[in-house]
């Protein structure tokens, strides 16, 4: 009774607070969407129209802009394919190898195990760019510039993914199952592939999404390694689109190009947003 009274007393205040919160949240959502919406709309307008004013309503020049863009940037599908190729293979390698390390450190007791684990924890915080110069020069010496090997293979050593997988295994992989498999005569590698990996699926899926996106969005490493235009990845193509001299800029064409590069990620994101948000939340509770 008392409680109800109290609630009633505060009700108007609560309602106004609630309204303020909704307004702020909706404003932030609009802020998230607006630049992309303008991009989409502008990709359907002529360059002249874009320069005359802002519009939030699509026009009808999409096909025109698109053909213009595709005739100017003939390599766009190739570049997208390159990005997809690199991202898919490096994601596969990353999650498989990281699960292997985490499994090795969880299931087996061997000399140097603690050292290996401490090492992984220590290198997790080293910024990748610190070793960039040595990496570049070493790749040059190995003759690997303009190949995809320096973009793909390093994915095998991803300390933060190992960390995540090991945390997951603490609860997600009962060691009794491994023992049971041994008694049934399963080999160690077979046990890992057939029994452990399926149990780790949720963790692998989360990490795969993030590994894929990180690789797809990476600009620093490809910009360092790749210089041949046919081997460009998508972010490099974007840099090129942006660098075109603004005086003979076809703005509609530019926006269509940017839209093309964003669409695959939009699709992935909105299809998997539930898992992505959950994954971000999990990543933070590392303590």
């Amino acid at each position: 009774m008392n409680n109800k009274k109290r609630e009633n007393k505060f009700q108007p205040l609560l309602i106004s607070q609630r309204t303020i919160r909704y307004i702020v949240c909706i404003f932030l959502c609009i802020l998230s969407i607006l630049p992309f919406w303008i991009m989409l709309v502008n990709s359907t307008r002529t360059s002249v129209a874009i320069q005359q004013g802002i519009s939030l309503i699509p026009s009808d020049h999409l096909i025109n802009n698109l053909t213009n863009f595709l005739s100017e940037y003939k390599n766009v599908w190739l570049n997208m394919g390159n990005s997809a190729f690199i991202s898919i293979i490096s994601t596969g390698l990353c999650v498989y190898a990281s699960s292997m390390v985490a499994y090795g450190l969880t299931v087996y007791k061997f000399k140097g195990r603690n050292f290996a684990w401490s090492f992984i924890l220590a290198v997790m915080m080293v910024p990748a760019q610190v070793s960039a110069i040595g990496f570049f020069r070493f790749m040059q010496q190995l003759g690997l510039l303009n190949t995809y090997i320096p973009l793909i293979l390093p994915a095998i050593a991803a300390p933060s993914v190992v960390f995540f997988m090991k945390q997951f295994m603490k609860n997600g992989l009962p060691l009794e199952i491994v023992d049971a498999a041994r008694i049934d005569g399963s080999g160690e590698i077979n046990t890992f592939n057939r029994i452990a990996l399926p149990l780790l699926k949720p963790a692998i899926a989360t990490q795969a999404i993030f590994a894929f996106i990180a690789s797809w969005n990476n600009y620093f490493t490809p910009a360092m390694i790749i210089s041949e235009e046919k081997r460009y990845t998508l972010p490099m193509l974007i840099a090129k689109i942006k660098d075109v001299d603004p005086s003979n800029f076809d703005l509609g064409r530019t926006y269509v190009g940017l839209t093309l590069t964003v669409i695959p990620i939009f699709i992935v994101y909105f299809a998997l947003s539930k898992y992505i948000i959950a994954g971000v939340a999990l990543g933070g509770v590392k303590e």
Partner: protein
């Protein structure tokens, strides 16, 4: 009979566990081999290069060096750092364009990105976990607010670049509000561009930080909130005295990861400049890239890399020190004293 049997059984088992242990090396081998080749060796190599005079000449056709010069690279970089800073702090004419400028820009952009980011994220996290006022559609809000984080940073930079170029939609909007002259190029304005980059970083990352903080708040035992409520604490008091102290580890985590990430900022400032000789928003990563990779002055680039590493390390240690649990340390000290006392008696 049975005794010897069990003995041999034990021996066999022992042998087996040893055998299994060996597989551990097999499982961790790929990681360590690749790490050694692609990360550790390049890291040590970078450190080594920083002591050498080593740069490309004839447009990359040949290299001068490597000649060992000890700490000379460091001396010259630190000297440049000091001249740049005296220029920046003293407002002296002549544009700073070396490592000091790069560090200054990096810190400036990181600061104006992180402070509003953490404040907004804390506010939103407190709203989304408020028991009194339950907001509907939280899932949708989270999805929308996190979205910019996942889009290719290069695309976002190119997009904002065209939005704020002369005649771009953002530019037109500001002209419409009467905030700027029609012909004035915002992207040429140092202050504006720095703040724009900071804003983009803020806009890309607050959703991420917010989700992490929400997860942190939800991880706090509900009984603590209930106890505080029973004791008659207002929601502000609960937030200040229960939520924030318990969020400390996660706040530290976001601080450190954001600081390390901020020091590495590359894509957005790199794509925000018009031409190569533009130092107004050059960050330390761009500086390393320019000297070490574009112009192939490996010694200089490597030195800047090592300095970046040192700064990152110092920064993380400072953050750990600031955020350390003072009560726990006090308690530990007292425990030690107590133990000593007991030991003496």
């Amino acid at each position: 009979m049975s005794n010897s049997n069990s003995k041999s059984e034990i021996q066999r088992r022992k042998k087996k566990t040893i055998e299994y242990g060996r597989f551990g090396y097999f499982f961790i081998a790929p990681f360590f081999i690749v790490y050694l080749i692609f990360s550790l060796w390049p890291l040590l190599y970078t450190l080594g290069l920083s002591f050498y005079e080593y740069y490309a000449s004839n447009g990359g056709a040949s290299y001068v060096g490597p000649n060992f010069i000890g700490l000379k690279n460091y001396m010259s970089e630190i000297k440049l750092f000091i001249t740049d800073f005296s220029k920046i702090l003293g407002n002296i004419a002549g544009s700073p364009q070396s490592i000091g400028n790069a560090f200054y820009n990096t810190f400036y952009i990181w600061f104006f990105n992180f402070v509003p980011q953490i404040l907004l994220s804390l506010l939103l996290a407190s709203w989304f976990t408020d028991i009194r006022i339950k907001l509907k559609g939280q899932g949708g809000f989270k999805v929308m607010m996190y979205m910019p984080n996942i889009i290719t940073a290069a695309t976002i930079a190119a997009l904002f670049y065209s939005l704020f170029a002369v005649g771009g939609p953002g530019d037109q909007f500001l002209v419409g509000l009467g905030l700027k002259e029609k012909t004035f190029d915002l992207l040429n304005d140092t202050g504006f561009r720095r703040l724009l980059i900071a804003f983009i970083q803020f806009w890309m990352w607050y959703g991420n930080t917010m989700i992490i903080l929400i997860a942190g708040v939800l991880g706090i035992s509900p009984s603590l909130f209930e106890a505080a409520m029973v004791d008659g604490a207002t929601s502000k008091q609960i937030y200040r005295n229960v939520t924030l102290p318990l969020l400390k580890p996660i706040l530290l985590y976001t601080l450190v990861t954001s600081a390390i990430g901020g020091m590495q900022m590359f894509d957005i400032p790199k794509l925000m400049i018009k031409k190569a000789a533009d130092y107004k928003t050059e960050t330390i990563s761009m500086y390393i890239f320019k000297h070490g990779i574009s112009t192939r002055n490996l010694g200089k680039g490597a030195t800047a890399s090592v300095l970046l590493f040192v700064v990152t390390l110092i920064l993380s240690l400072i953050l750990f020190y600031i955020m350390r649990d003072k009560d726990e340390i006090k308690e530990r000290k007292e425990n030690k004293k107590y133990m000593k006392k007991i030991g003496k008696e």
